[in-house]
């Protein structure tokens, strides 16, 4: 099965990367941009057929390794 894990800076945590991207977009003429937060996406393929079990497993992966939960939040989506 396929599962996606999105990892992003927690709300309130300074995100200098997102800020730099936001100001670059604004300089390019995308004046409507108000804020950008930059994160990562992991596309993971796993053995299994139970979406719930796959999701639970991916959550564990995020907590143990993919995200640093001091500064990052994450969400998990089973995609097929």
């Amino acid at each position: 099965m396929k599962v996606e894990v999105r990892v992003y800076p927690k709300a309130g945590v300074l995100d200098p990367q997102g800020k730099a991207i936001a100001s670059a977009l604004s300089r390019l003429g995308h004046r409507a941009v108000r804020d950008v937060r930059a994160g990562k996406v992991f596309f993971i393929e796993v053995d299994g057929s139970d979406p719930r079990a796959v999701e639970a497993d991916a959550r564990k992966m995020a907590e143990e390794l993919l995200a640093n939960t001091v500064i990052e939040g994450f969400d998990v989506r089973v995609t097929g």
Binding site: V13, L14, P16, Q17, L65, N68, V70, I71
Partner: protein, 231 residues
């Protein structure tokens, strides 16, 4: 007195630390490959600077799963002296041996510069020879040195005297313009509750002899020698 210097794939300051320990201080030192679990009788363990595992995912994130880290954690739990320098500090944070996390520098650039730090805690095995409140100058070289932690953790660090070094100007004033990376409260180095595990972003190993133009860093290693010899 024997130093154990952990070598991860991508460590690049291991030889600098070994040189300081052996050639400059006349101590024994052994490299400990990250796949090993035997700390070889080291009295103090150093996690050196570099780019362990290429800093993939996050600096220090993958190194923390190396077999040697379980031994380092057990050594630390028993009160063993552990020093993490730069990438070594990042590994200690990811491993949970020290609290908090590193973010990318606020300027989004790698910072390579001499910085001043005020000694805030002279009670650790690596800072005993620096007078509290004195200003020490050391080089930094990092992309992720922007230390952060939840406010309650920062407050606890302050309250418990666990901020070891703080970025400051040459007069010892903690001002934002002297902060090279945006680290919360100007924190350059911290220790654990027992004080035996210390991490800092600046590089004492790169300023430990006169020929390098600065020998301020050697006191960190000498502190360990005197602290552990009198144990």
């Amino acid at each position: 007195m024997k130093f154990g210097i952990v070598v991860f794939p991508g460590s690049n300051c291991d030889a600098d630390c070994h040189h300081v320990a052996t050639d400059l201080l006349g101590c024994e030192a052994d490299y400990i490959w990250h796949q090993e679990t035997d700390l070889k009788g080291a009295d103090a363990v150093i996690l050196p600077g570099g780019f362990a595992y290429g800093d993939y995912l996050r600096a220090g994130a993958l190194a923390r799963f190396s077999p040697v880290m379980e031994s380092v954690a057990a050594f630390a739990r028993e009160g063993g002296a552990v020093l993490g320098i730069c990438n070594g500090f990042q590994v200690l944070l990811e491993a949970g041996l020290l609290p908090g996390a590193m973010q990318i520098n606020r300027g989004l650039r790698y910072v390579c510069a001499d910085v001043h730090m005020r000694v805030e805690n002279d009670g650790t095995p690596f800072t005993a020879l620096y007078p509290k409140g004195s200003v020490v100058t050391m080089p930094v070289g990092h992309m992720e040195g922007n230390y952060t932690a939840p406010p309650e953790v920062l407050d606890a660090l302050e309250r418990e005297g666990r901020v070891v070094f703080r970025y400051c100007d040459r007069d010892g004033k903690v001002v934002d313009s002297a902060n090279p990376n945006g680290a919360a409260r100007g924190i350059a180095g911290i220790c654990n509750a027992q004080g035996n595990v210390v991490g800092l972003m600046p590089h004492p190993d790169r300023c430990s002899e006169g020929i390098l133009g600065n020998a301020a860093g050697i006191k960190m290693f000498e502190s360990a020698v005197s602290a552990l010899a009198t144990r």
